[in-house]
Amino acid sequence: MANVITDETIEYVGILAKLALSDEEKEQAKKDMGRMLDYIDKLAELDTEGIEPMSHVFPVQNVFREDVVTNGDESGKTLKNAPGEKDNMFMVPKTFD
């Protein structure tokens, strides 16, 4: 396989993806990602010089609206889904010492 994914790469991508993979998952991820990238490398066969990248198929502009509140206070309903809640706020683990 042409793309060899190193331990360092998997560690780095794990940080970007906010995933803590087990050793077994890391080995599997190295294999899977290498294989997928080998396959994606097929795109290099195409000459894309001068072609504009297309993120959207139709010409799209920003869609603006007046900054007016249209919904009511739904904080109670919203917080019901939160794993942690206190005093009408989301409760999160301590972020710094």
């Binding site: 995933l19 097929k42 894309t48 794993p83």
Partner: protein
């Protein structure tokens, strides 16, 4: 007539004419669910009491003359990645095991306004990532035609529910074929609209530039009626398009005379099953016999669609799924040390293998040093693929081909080799990259009795051509 034999449109007509009630229709569906669900597992959530209450309320409004539309009183199943206010919405993931939305998706609201009645939420591949409905955290869904086989995916629960009579129609979502391929495997009709036709508000995002909601139905007339109801311009989805041609049922015309249909030679090369090929080409003959002008052509770039798709979809998924962090909703890991550890443990425990695989790949192709070589390159090839379709539609009204290279594989055959599973999407994913509408409809069965799907693809905003040709095929299918 057995209630479950009705199409959605015929059922609503019968209810409005007073031949039966919306409550009787819902009771019939719930009884079928009781009978079939242990074998099929099409649903993640069924709220019987709420469904019966809503059916009774719809009946009342029909009797008062408040609900007169084509779907009034019809029980519908919703794919579990569309938010339904007050009803569990899991995306078939552990990370959303307890998520009860505070609002409904716009497409769901449109259906409810039209008087359709929600039965429950259908199973899917986790976060719509998969082609078999086997990556669900809530068990696999089985194909009603043969329960040793998959129903396809990711909208496998919706397709199986329609095929098994566990609903009268369903909504699915299609990012790379997730409506059309399960429709094909389950022998039902599925349509992916032009990007922007149906609001994505309330659809849990996978690949935002590719995702579209669409109908899964028993026949083409139902498909047109459902699309007509769910299509709407929505300010809450900034990619929503304001169309004034959404009277799709007007296209239910049995006539394809002079319609130009192109068959891409590149769709019938290596890898396609002979029985699928024969069934699809026989369907082309049926349309030709009705006066369509059918010819072969070279679409080009077909083999580049899959690597382009998986780069773009994974990139968008890695970004979209950042929101699942154990703070605002869903699962949170029990033991952790500090905020970052909580994020990582929550996500690692909450997501399944296929979702992690795509998040990892997406994070990689977007990372500094690889962005240009992978992500930007894929966006350029996407432009080339769109151009190839533009060229084809300068010559043809429709493109005709298979939906998938094979009929439904056996359970367990696909997941062991993800790349092989991805290759099965070859005929569907370029449609999403180019934002086009496409329909899948049954065109026969293979020697094992498994359904084969015919795919028709149209230029942007040409759903009516799709519906007209599909309807004509359906009306003349057996007359050849």
């Amino acid at each position: 007539m057995d209630i479950l034999e009705y199409s959605a449109v015929a059922l609503s007509a019968a209810i409005r004419e007073g031949k039966l009630t919306a409550t009787e229709a819902m009771e019939a569906v719930l009884a079928r669910i009781d009978e079939k669900e242990k074998d099929i597992n099409a649903y993640v959530t069924i709220d019987r009491e709420q469904a019966l209450r809503a059916a009774a309320s719809a009946q009342e409004r029909i009797e008062k003359g408040e609900l007169t539309g084509a779907l009034a009183g019809v029980p519908v199943a919703i794919k579990d990645n569309m938010c339904t206010e007050g009803m569990l919405t899991t995306c078939s993931s552990k990370i959303l095991e307890n998520f009860v939305p505070t609002f409904s998706a716009e497409a769901v609201i449109n259906l409810e306004k039209a008087g359709a009645v929600i039965i429950g939420k259908t199973n899917m591949d986790e976060f719509a990532m998969g082609s078999t409905t086997e990556t669900s955290a809530y068990g696999v869904t089985r194909n009603p035609w043969n329960t040793d086989h998959v129903p396809g995916g990711s909208s496998g629960g919706s397709a199986a529910a329609v095929a098994a009579g566990e609903c009268f129609f369903a909504l699915g979502s299609d990012t790379g074929g997730s409506i059309r391929q399960p429709a094909s495997f389950c022998g039902v009709v599925g349509l992916k609209p032009t990007y922007g036709t149906v609001s994505r508000y309330g659809l849990v995002a996978y690949g935002s530039s590719l995702d579209q909601i669409g109908p899964l139905t028993k026949n083409v007339a139902d498909c047109a009626a459902v699309l007509e109801v769910i299509a709407s311009h929505d300010m809450k989805d900034s990619t929503s398009i304001n169309r004034n041609d959404t009277d799709f049922t007007a296209a239910l015309v049995n006539d394809v005379k002079g319609m130009k249909i192109g068959i891409p030679r590149d769709y019938f090369g290596e890898g396609i099953d002979a029985e699928v090929k024969n069934a699809v080409l026989a369907a082309a003959e049926t349309l030709a016999a009705q006066g369509a002008v059918v010819e072969e052509f070279d679409l080009s770039l077909v083999e580049y669609a899959i690597p382009t798709y998986y780069t773009i979809a994974a990139a968008e998924a890695s970004s979209n799924l950042e929101r699942f962090d154990g703070i605002k909703y869903g699962y949170r890991a029990e033991a952790f040390e500090g905020l970052h550890d909580m994020y990582k443990k929550t996500r690692s425990e909450g997501f399944g293998a296929e979702v992690k695989r795509r998040i990892m790949l997406g994070s990689f192709v977007l990372s500094s040093g690889y962005y240009d070589a992978y992500y930007l390159k894929a966006l350029k090839v996407k432009a080339m693929i769109k151009k190839a379709f533009d060229d084809a539609f300068a010559r043809y009204d429709l493109i005709l081909g298979p939906v998938a290279p094979t009929t439904a594989p056996k359970l367990g055959e696909s997941l062991s080799d993800p790349l092989k599973m991805y290759l099965g999407d070859i005929y569907t994913i370029s449609v999403n990259l180019a934002g086009l509408p496409a329909i899948s409809l049954p065109c026969g069965k293979d020697s094992r009795g498994l359904p084969v799907g015919l795919q028709l693809i149209a230029d942007s905003f040409q759903e009516k051509k799709l519906i007209q040709a599909a309807y004509t095929y359906e009306q003349n299918e057996k007359k050849i």
